[in-house]
């Protein structure tokens, strides 16, 4: 299937749509409806499968995400590291395991949500859509790792420059057009998630404990001071 004619839209226009939506809506939501910023935990309603979903998913996905960020920010050191095959194998295999962990966790979370009536009560359409999007993203990512291995190297050499070209406001199609369909799907999936971010429960990522790490244990608020 050749969807090359869509490339300009998907890789030159859509990323900007996604980023603009992301920034505007996230800030708007924080200002106007801060109340909706919550992890929306369901541990109270189901406490056993929760562990097997939440822990592998979060640790897996965060590690994989960190890998992408490193490849984006530090392509050169990464390529240097990969220069020795043994080091490349270690990196690829460990991130691959993390991706599998994320996949395993997400599958558990989806099954868990569907299986427990109490959890279905607290799952809204936007949650299902998010779970679907994440599943698509992880499955496509894992497939890429199998079909086109050594991604840590070729990502740094091709996608990093593409992403930087997007940030520099002159998106360079030359890097993405020759990419296999799977990789293109993964990129589009990523920008879709970014665009969908402010409309979903994912916003809780932005309010990870921060002042907590350095604030004093007790908090006092005064009305008159």
């Amino acid at each position: 299937m050749n969807i090359g004619y869509l490339d300009p839209f998907l890789f030159q226009v859509f990323p900007y749509v996604a980023l603009v939506v992301f920034f505007l809506m996230t800030i708007y939501r924080y200002w106007v409806r801060e109340f909706t910023y919550s992890s929306l935990s369901s541990q109270l309603l189901e406490n056993q499968h929760h562990f097997y979903g939440m822990v592998p998913f979060h640790y897996g996905i965060l590690t994989v995400l960190l890998g992408h960020v490193v490849a984006f920010l530090l392509p050169r050191p990464l390529l240097w590291w990969n220069g020795v095959p043994a080091r490349l194998y270690v990196l690829e295999i460990s991130t691959f395991i993390c991706a599998l962990l994320a996949l395993f966790g997400l599958a558990n979370l989806i099954v868990r949500r569907a299986a427990f009536p109490a959890l279905r009560k607290v799952t809204i359409l936007s949650d299902w859509m998010l779970l679907g999007l994440l599943m698509f993203q992880i499955v496509s990512g894992v497939s890429i790792a199998i079909a086109h291995p050594w991604g840590s190297s070729w990502f740094s050499a091709t996608l990093t420059p593409y992403l930087w070209s997007v940030l520099r406001l002159s998106p360079d199609l030359g890097y993405v057009t020759p990419m296999p369909l799977l990789v293109k799907a993964h990129i589009v999936g990523a920008f879709t998630i970014i665009a969908y971010f402010p409309f979903s429960r994912m916003v809780h990522v932005l309010v990870v404990p921060n002042p907590y790490l350095w604030r004093r244990p007790q908090v006092v608020r005064w009305y008159g001071r």
Binding site: R33, E34, T36, S39, L40, L44, L45, Q218, Y223
Partner: protein
């Protein structure tokens, strides 16, 4: 000295009749919304019993509160080093099974059931799923020792008793129980506040009420794990935690909280006390056996000119110092020393104190006449149906001495009143008992009055809130004129 005011409370357990009116008053005002049905900010437990949520006192399981590690005060399981890696799944988090699944009944069926030979019934329906459920637990499932083999027998406090004492406690005809009403203690060293990753929980500077900012809460639920009394709850519908607000809108308009106001047994007292905020950490780090005294020493004498001067310097309004002088809590806790904090070994410095129960009344019966209220009496406190060690575990951080002193004084007051009203006890003997209990006839009369005759105004001394001063300093009162209004206007809907 950094003097602050704290609205504090006393519950007199001998007076509680276990009617749950307090719980219902609270429920109707605060927790009848979707997602909060299972919460009982005020609940009344039967002791011995496992309580609500089940076995909340067992910190080996729930790992809440503070502990001393190498003389350093630390959150038992909700410090930063523990919360951050466990943020995705906290292993010490209670689940709904530990509370109960709330339910209603299918009342509609009583009206709409098709005609048949049998009476229609109203089946229980889960208030979470809406589906029919088999009810297996409730917020006071073990009321009046119901199912005591499962519940009372598993009371974590019984661990301090010998097997004989335990057997005796449950022997037929010697059974003993008392009620234990609980709300958030609005602690001086609240672990819920210290544990919150979002800084959503806070203590109000003016009156010490511990509140949870709904906009700031992100649903991490560290407070739920951290509160050793399990008095913060997670609203599964909105994804935010909630807790007892001590009816602050009522307090600010000079009324007692709803559970206090409605209390049928008139067991509840509320008043402000002054304390030195600089010493909180030091006091909370005392050794177990010193905790009660240390907390008492934190409470300042509102008649002491030095304290009044320091209070003024710290910005405590004169009218609040005035209110502290009338505070029944100050009398019970500091002057008479008959009210004790619950499980102070959790080190949150709870500001709700309990007068430990004396029941059943000790006496010997000769024919129809209750007699022999003399020397041997106080030995009987130790031989009471409820072993003193049990009460000491609850209210004395394990130290029976504090509880014994409180009971002894209460008993002496009873004897003294018996001598004054019935007259079958020698007044001199009664006075001797009072002196032995560290009391005096004047004090006995005051205790009697506050316990038995207390009016509304004596029980609830609500300090003035002075919101008018605070608001004026903060914002322009005309700011919201002709606009939509103040505060939180959108309906608290879930997520997205």
């Amino acid at each position: 000295m950094d003097v602050r005011a704290q609205i504090s409370m006393v519950f007199h357990l001998d007076k509680c009749i276990g009617c749950h009116t307090c719980s219902i008053a609270c429920k109707n005002i605060w927790t009848d919304r979707k997602g909060t049905e299972y919460m009982w900010w005020n609940n009344v437990e039967t002791k011995p019993g496992t309580g609500y949520p089940t076995k909340w006192e067992d910190q080996e399981e729930y790992r809440g509160g503070w502990s001393l590690r190498n003389d350093k005060l630390e959150l038992r399981s909700t410090g930063k080093a523990h919360i951050v890696p466990n943020i995705f799944h906290n292993p010490s988090m209670p689940s709904m099974d530990d509370y109960y699944e709330p339910w209603t009944y299918d009342y509609k069926n009583l009206f709409n059931a098709p005609e048949s030979d049998d009476q229609p019934t109203a089946r229980p329906l889960s208030m979470v799923t809406g589906e029919p459920i088999d009810v297996e637990a409730g917020p006071n499932w073990d009321d009046d020792l119901g199912g005591s083999k499962v519940y009372a027998a598993n009371d974590p406090n019984l661990a301090v008793l010998t097997p004989q004492q335990r057997a005796q406690l449950f022997a037929v005809e010697r059974l003993m129980m008392f009620y234990f009403p609980r709300i958030c203690n609005h602690c001086l060293n609240p672990s819920c506040v210290a544990a919150c990753p979002s800084g959503a929980l806070y203590k109000r500077g003016e009156d010490g009420v511990v509140l949870l900012d709904q906009n700031r809460c992100r649903g991490w639920r560290s407070c739920v794990a951290a509160c050793p009394y399990k008095k913060t709850f997670f609203n599964w519908q909105t994804g935010k935690s909630e807790k007892c607000v001590l009816c602050f809108p009522r307090l600010e308009s000079g009324q007692a909280p709803a559970c206090f106001h409605s209390c049928v047994g008139r067991i509840r007292y509320l008043g402000v006390i002054l304390y030195d905020a600089r010493r909180i950490r030091e006091v909370a780090s005392s050794r177990d056996e010193d905790l009660i005294e240390a907390q008492r020493s934190l409470i300042l004498d509102p008649f002491d000119p030095e304290v009044v001067k320091a209070a003024r310097a710290s910005g405590v309004h004169d009218s609040i110092v005035e209110s502290a002088r009338k505070s029944p809590v100050y009398k019970f806790v500091k002057e008479w020393k008959i009210a004790l904090p619950p499980h102070i070994e959790f080190r949150t410095l709870p500001m709700l104190f309990y007068v430990p129960p004396l029941a059943p009344v000790m006496s010997t019966k000769a024919g129809d006449i209750v007699s022999n209220v003399s020397k041997g009496l106080f030995h009987e406190i130790d031989e009471a149906r409820v072993p003193i060690e049990y009460l000491a575990k609850l209210f004395g951080a394990g130290d029976a001495g504090k509880v014994r002193a409180a009971l002894k004084k209460q008993m002496a007051v009873r004897v003294w009143r018996r001598a004054s009203t019935v007259g079958d006890v020698d007044k001199a003997a009664a006075e001797r008992l009072l002196r032995e209990a560290g009391s005096s006839p004047e004090e006995a009369e005051a205790i009697y009055r506050m316990t038995a005759l207390c009016s509304f105004e004596e029980r609830f001394v609500v300090p003035p809130a002075h919101r008018e001063l605070a608001i004026e300093m903060m914002e322009d009162p005309l700011e919201h004129k002709q606009s939509a209004g103040f505060g939180f206007l959108s309906a608290p809907r879930r997520g997205s």
